[in-house]
Symmetry: D2
Amino acid sequence: MKEEINLPDIQNTEDTRGISIDKVGITNVYYPVLLKQKEGADIQASARVKLFVHLPREYKGVNMSRFMETLAKHGNLISSDTMPLILETLCNRLESKDAYARFEFDYYIPKKSPASDNIAPQKYRCAFAGELRDGKYKFMLEVNVIAASLCPCSKAMSMSDCSCSEVGKGAHNQRSHIRVRVECNPKDVIWFEDIIASIEEQASAPTYPILKRPDEKYVTELAYSNAKFSEDILRDVQIATLKFPISEWNIRVYNEESIHPFDVCCYQQSSGWTWD
Amino acid sequence: MKEEINLPDIQNTEDTRGISIDKVGITNVYYPVLLKQKEGADIQASARVKLFVHLPREYKGVNMSRFMETLAKHGNLISSDTMPLILETLCNRLESKDAYARFEFDYYIPKKSPASDNIAPQKYRCAFAGELRDGKYKFMLEVNVIAASLCPCSKAMSMSDCSCSEVGKGAHNQRSHIRVRVECNPKDVIWFEDIIASIEEQASAPTYPILKRPDEKYVTELAYSNAKFSEDILRDVQIATLKFPISEWNIRVYNEESIHPFDVCCYQQSSGWTWD
Amino acid sequence: MKEEINLPDIQNTEDTRGISIDKVGITNVYYPVLLKQKEGADIQASARVKLFVHLPREYKGVNMSRFMETLAKHGNLISSDTMPLILETLCNRLESKDAYARFEFDYYIPKKSPASDNIAPQKYRCAFAGELRDGKYKFMLEVNVIAASLCPCSKAMSMSDCSCSEVGKGAHNQRSHIRVRVECNPKDVIWFEDIIASIEEQASAPTYPILKRPDEKYVTELAYSNAKFSEDILRDVQIATLKFPISEWNIRVYNEESIHPFDVCCYQQSSGWTWD
Amino acid sequence: MKEEINLPDIQNTEDTRGISIDKVGITNVYYPVLLKQKEGADIQASARVKLFVHLPREYKGVNMSRFMETLAKHGNLISSDTMPLILETLCNRLESKDAYARFEFDYYIPKKSPASDNIAPQKYRCAFAGELRDGKYKFMLEVNVIAASLCPCSKAMSMSDCSCSEVGKGAHNQRSHIRVRVECNPKDVIWFEDIIASIEEQASAPTYPILKRPDEKYVTELAYSNAKFSEDILRDVQIATLKFPISEWNIRVYNEESIHPFDVCCYQQSSGWTWD
């Protein structure tokens, strides 16, 4: 690549505005990754990727091609294990003090129907991210769970004119979207399988890929016996999440209300949470 | 604009590939429009717009700027009334035999809570579109309704081990998205208000912007008494829609299942439907 | 599953409205699939799936759980090869005369930088779909290509006041999104790799995952030497696509104009095209 | 509404988990608003709305219907002027110490073509938001601008083998999406028109709704003479934004690269920025 030597290299020219940039990089990149499962072989996935570095005030721009070169150098072996190495390479090749990388993908977990024992894979949108800032390494996991929420107030009211206590005319229920982001302790592995199972227990009921009629009866009645506001789900997910070996955390719950054309939502995070 | 005369005009050069193009134009354009209400003054809205013409095989390209000029010429007076004029202008200015225009926008209808009589505006995503093809004018309306659907099978099963007929443990319910597109008879006005009301009656229950507790009880019980599969909603919407003065039609229903992480859906259209 | 026998089965009850339904099924389902590459081992991918059947007028609803059971029965071996079997199983298990299945996924192809020979995987959003209607089997492929388009008129004009013919002040260029859908001849294999390569040749220039400076110079100059309207790209893609062993086809091109806040687009399809 | 008195009110029951919630409310609500223009009459718009309050640890849930009641109480007079009142009403009616409200909408500004003087409205996605936290009121504006960016390195390289300094073979350019969020000083009005004009000057060129050929030539050449990396645009937008009477700020630039299938992006914010 002799030719490159003689080509203009505007990025590396000096910048005189005196402004450093927090985060500069590439986004909406897609790249194949290998995901470790709690049980079974690694699986291939297509990750939507963000890669960022810090740009000092002296430089006009980053060497943008080095982001993709860093991914390509790791070939098909990108996983949570290689995250520290990816961040170091980004810092070195882009001459930056900080680096950030995020990989978001579909993760599948086999799920068994509660009554009929039918098994099928259920997709969860998940992510891992890493940051190397001022020499300190941090690692983050994200899981997104789609569950059922059933309104306790609606349930209580649709029983309220009945003479017997267990007689009702239903309760509005709907899809609840629960997102949990946690900053992991570096030495503890948290499996997607475990944190997802922990979250699903906090909803009115989990969702399933296959529900035969006995399953549907089971899930309907489970949700009915387990009525929860979005606020309840948030609080219970917070309690459950804090049992994992984590430091900072961020939780969002929103319910696609079946009786309203808008969503009900809750947010909560630890006071030291700084990720997005 | 003397200068324009001397500038190259590549679009108008001859094309030798012998291929005409069905539809060429601009999309994801935003433009302010005026919407007529069944009652009350016209309201301003922001429309996402598509404009297309046919390109004969002889021409390399269309005069792209004339699409926006056609809109701008009508200023703030774009409405369903001006549709024929817009299409004629497009045909004339772009020297095309056909033209197509579509405007999609948020339309608000005041909605009264069923028990507490609270009124608030509810948004419906709506559209109108027009086509002038081989001299024949057609006009299309689209409405999107968010309603509640409650599963009859879930309801029947969660009662099935009870001794009394009206005792239950709920039924899964969820948001149902109902889209109806109709080709109108040119001389009959169909109000968004009327077709939306007709569709909402076919769901298990409508959604509302404000629901106080007596309203929530009412809606919960209405949905429970009115259990419907997506298939039921589709069929009933079809029957209701055919009472309007329309020719061709297209109906889609999908339910964001609260017990599954995916959607259930149905499609149906008249055999002569050709719009998208 | 003895219990199931005694549970109510509302879907299978008789419907009296006299209305059959064209397409009923599940959508926004995610399922793992195996994709064949032209060269190399099969790769795992996460597919967004649609599955539909026809519902006769006599039945109230479909047995919705059998869609996912059909996928689960094929385990991890879902590919274009198993499409006919999936459709037959859907028809049999759901007692339908017709079935439709669509799988959409990220497909990766290694791509070499034009000057520096750096290789990295590039993602293409692709799909395959199958239909069994009245006993006749059809198969469809879709590819989506992101390429560069450079405006011939802008190029011609920004040269127009220069005395020498090759002197210019640039030309606006932008991302072009090219989508090609083809109905394949049943006995001919069309590789994603081949149809994508054929489409990329029709743009002003392909896009690349890694571009070092000599590559960037090459691609910039390639696009400049190869100015094309969206109409040109559409026509050239049509000519190139018709060289494959296909029957019906549908092509869409849209350019995210860099000088406008909206998109320019073209559509074209064969007269017998009926897919969506 | 006598009946309400006797209905169960689960939200108001005591919660024993000891967990307060940062933000609970409704999102993806749509509501009509009135927008002030720098010149001319107020215009109607459809806003996507978020409303949040804080929930103390003692309560099980919020009175969700009071969010929409608060909007409805202000009828069609919701604007930036009524923001403090909306927040106070939310705090009072929902018995919360904090409240947050955000309204996002399409805002139109008439834009004149640079050479041909054609005028048409251009849409900008904008927002305003307010927060009342611990008795302190803050107000935020957001604007989103779609502009053209032209790569300085590509321009320099495609000239580099030419003998004369002004001879080139183009430069890749593309859509740049610039988002600026500012926390306003309470007593200073910042017009969308002014901050948008200030941002557009920092891109390689603005985009326009109507461009006749002399305009297209002008814009193409303007962008070519004004080559900028995303980093340049970010820095120049930062300098321009700081001339407004603001306190905290947040800027994002991303370029939909025409030579890559992914985006290049930069983020920057003041150290006290806490909004999302």
